[in-house]
């Protein structure tokens, strides 16, 4: 095993070009955003926990419960991003891993090298996350709850910070191991052991059962019920979401007549879970925005002068964090896909395919699931909010702004990977006299 680690040390950071290093950088960025977001969420939670220690202050208890609910909503997309970061570089180390196997490395050694790489990215990302958390702290102390600004001492996690970092790193290793169990590293390349399978209808059944069972269970879960509700909603959304995306892919695949639509539909059908990841956070944004609009109205009944404003502030923070996590996820996934499929994109460019055609397909792949989420979850939420139109005229507008902002951020993250695509289809980059094209596998030196 030590020889494997020595080999990893030798190989680390070496790549023939920028494109071979970029996925590693993207993985570190994803880990950093996941860790930073997690630390900010936990810091905020700690602040409310410290404030709830005042004896007899029931409002502080209510704030703590609301903070736990918000944290519960945010933690799942954050951890999902962490897991995604761990998987990013695993499936695209094909050539190197296959070469190592060809040179006589055992499967155990290949796994050890891969894990060491993921671990190093997770540690670097986690440290970056601490930096992001540190940079965010002064900004967070500008935010007031119940008329008092959050203090640095309340937000600083101290020793808990190390525990959070360890959790992110353990998550990375577990995600890597789970992914590695699904691929076979052979001397001839890295092959996925299974073809993409259709998601089971059981997902939808379980989600519906959870929804039906909720009214029965809720009375038995008084205070903690809110927290269970938050986690339950996230679970239902994530169970049914990929299934809906798969159905969308099925419908679009059979209806598609032109190339951009066909490719986008096939990709949705191929990997609905990945497509859903951007949308799951978007669905959460819709839910939080909807709940906050209600809560802002309900909280303005005069029982507590700050409650309405504070709920709006807390919701805004939740929406921003979830949106940033969703955008990071979408950006990183699409950038890596461009790098992975650069040879195919290049071959399409050789055959005369315009960049706009490829771009249009990528846009459909992201925008359609977002649109379906907005129409279903958003439409339902908007219906709920309509009666508030007279009581709180700004509620519907704020809701619409939150939705538009979150979707725009995800689409902007997609657009950020466009230069990579443009580079992948450029045919005048040194042609057969550079190593880049040979590495991409399309051109051979001649």
């Amino acid at each position: 095993m030590s020889s494997a680690l020595r080999l990893w040390w030798l190989l680390r950071g070496r790549g023939s070009d920028d494109n071979s290093r970029l996925p590693g950088v993207l993985a570190v960025i994803a880990f950093a955003v996941a860790t930073g977001s997690l630390l900010v969420v936990l810091g905020g939670l700690q602040a409310f926990e410290l404030r709830s220690h005042q004896p007899g202050d029931e409002t502080a208890q209510l704030y703590l419960v609301l903070a736990i609910v918000a944290a519960g909503l945010m933690v799942i997309p954050i951890l999902t991003l962490g897991g995604q970061a761990a998987r990013l570089t695993l499936t695209r180390r094909n050539a190197r891993l296959a070469t190592l196997r060809l040179a006589g490395a055992t499967t155990g050694q290949s796994v050890a090298i891969t894990l060491a790489e993921t671990l190093s990215q997770a540690v670097l990302g986690a440290l970056g996350g601490v930096l992001l958390y540190g940079l965010a702290l002064p900004g967070l102390t500008m935010i007031s709850f119940r008329g008092h600004r959050l203090e640095l001492g309340e937000l600083w996690l101290g020793w808990w910070l190390l525990l959070a970092l360890a959790a992110v790193i353990v998550l990375a290793v577990v995600s890597a191991l789970v992914t590695l169990s699904g691929i076979a590293i052979t001397p001839l390349g890295v092959a996925s052991r299974v073809s993409p399978k259709r998601l089971s209808v059981l997902r939808a059944v379980v989600a519906v059962l959870m929804l039906l069972g909720w009214p029965v269970l809720f009375p038995f879960l008084p205070m903690a019920g809110l927290i269970v509700m938050a986690l339950g909603i996230v679970a239902v959304i994530n169970l049914i979401g990929p299934y809906v995306v798969m159905l969308l892919g099925l419908v679009l695949t059979s209806a598609a007549r032109r190339f951009p639509t066909l490719l986008a539909a096939r990709r949705l059908l191929d990997d609905p879970r990945t497509a859903w990841r951007s949308c799951s956070a978007f669905a959460l944004v819709i839910m939080v925005a909807c709940l906050s609009s209600f809560s802002a109205v309900l909280g303005s009944d005069g029982s507590d002068v700050h409650l309405g404003t504070d709920i709006a502030t807390g919701s805004a923070i939740t929406i921003v964090i979830v949106s940033v996590v969703a955008a990071t996820s979408a950006g990183v996934v699409h950038a890596c896909r461009v790098i992975d499929q650069a040879p195919v994109y290049r071959s399409l460019a050789y055959a005369g395919t315009d960049l706009t055609v490829l771009d249009s397909s990528r846009l459909r792949e992201v925008a359609w699931p977002l649109a379906v989420t907005a129409l279903t979850a958003g439409g339902f939420a908007a219906l709920l909010l309509l009666p508030l139109g007279t009581d709180a005229p700004g509620a519907l507008l704020r809701f619409a702004i939150a939705l538009a902002g979150s979707a725009a951020l995800t689409l902007a993250a997609l657009a950020a990977s466009r230069p990579l695509l443009a580079r992948a289809v450029r045919l005048d980059l040194g042609a057969d006299h550079g190593t880049e094209q040979t590495a991409a596998g399309v051109l051979t030196a001649g």
Binding site: L263, P343, A351, L443, T444
Partner: protein
């Protein structure tokens, strides 16, 4: 070598095909004159073509061989309008590719040329029939029509039962046959192949090469193959050898030139 009968796809929008679905006769073929090309990278110039004259006749199969760095892939790219030569001209249907804008050359590659690469380069999410139909789909042909047109080609290439399989479910040889079907789908005038058997074992490679030559001939397309493999080169009717950016041997013209050292 036995040559199977390959069906020829029908008309494609944007491609000047006659009513019977076949390409209009190309009398001149592809005529390259005085090709010189230099790559510039970090202010350093690397000569790749040092003065190449070459005519690819309609329907002929030609291999270009030579050691690494001899300029054979650059020549293929210049002939296919992928890159513009530093000097010289490439005439196709009376038009000079070297003078065309990028968008025009892209359109021409889409409609008049087909490409086969070393490892197929198929889209992993699309089944074989949709991968093969890509040129037609990109030309704006309706999916149903496009797939119906390429199915006979896939069947002739021995892929009848595999049209719904993804590239990941195909062997290297099968994937390369899909790539051949894709190259021929748009009824190209010329098929350019860059090491088409480079990723295959010798037996599969020979079979794939035979099918590439036969299928191109059946479609009336000229075939230009860049290869390191003498066996692959001899599957073509004409062999051209390059060294240091020059053609040093041409089996048809008997031409020999002293390579520039």
């Amino acid at each position: 070598m036995s040559h199977t009968q390959f069906p020829v796809p029908g008309n494609v929008p944007g491609v000047a095909h006659p009513a019977d679905g076949t390409r209009s006769p190309v009398r001149e073929g592809l005529v390259a004159t005085g090709l010189v090309h230099r790559y510039t990278r970090r202010a350093e110039e690397t000569p790749a073509l040092a003065g190449v004259d070459l005519t690819v006749s309609p329907g002929e199969s030609m291999s270009i061989m030579g050691p690494s760095g001899s300029g054979k892939t650059t020549l293929l790219h210049v002939l296919a309008g992928v890159i513009r030569p530093t000097h010289g001209s490439v005439l196709w249907q009376g038009r000079d590719l070297a003078r065309m804008r990028d968008a025009e050359r892209s359109r021409l590659r889409r409609t008049d040329f087909g490409f086969v690469f070393q490892s197929g380069q198929l889209l992993p999410e699309l089944p074989a029939e949709e991968n093969a139909a890509l040129p037609l789909l990109l030309a704006g042909v309706d999916r149903g029509t496009a797939v119906a047109r390429v199915r006979p080609i896939l069947e002739r290439l021995g892929l009848a039962g595999m049209v719904h399989r993804r590239p990941g479910e195909l062997s290297g040889g099968q994937a390369q046959r899909v790539a051949i079907a894709r190259a021929l789908a748009g009824s190209p005038g010329v098929v350019f192949a860059d090491e088409p058997t480079g990723a295959l074992d010798s037996t599969t490679g020979a079979a794939v090469m035979a099918q590439l030559v036969a299928a191109s001939r059946a479609h009336g397309a000229a075939l230009v193959v860049v290869t390191h493999d003498a066996g692959v080169a001899h599957a073509c009717a004409r062999q051209v050898t390059m060294r240091d950016g020059l053609i040093t041997h041409d089996s048809i013209t008997g031409h020999r030139a002293e390579a520039i050292r």
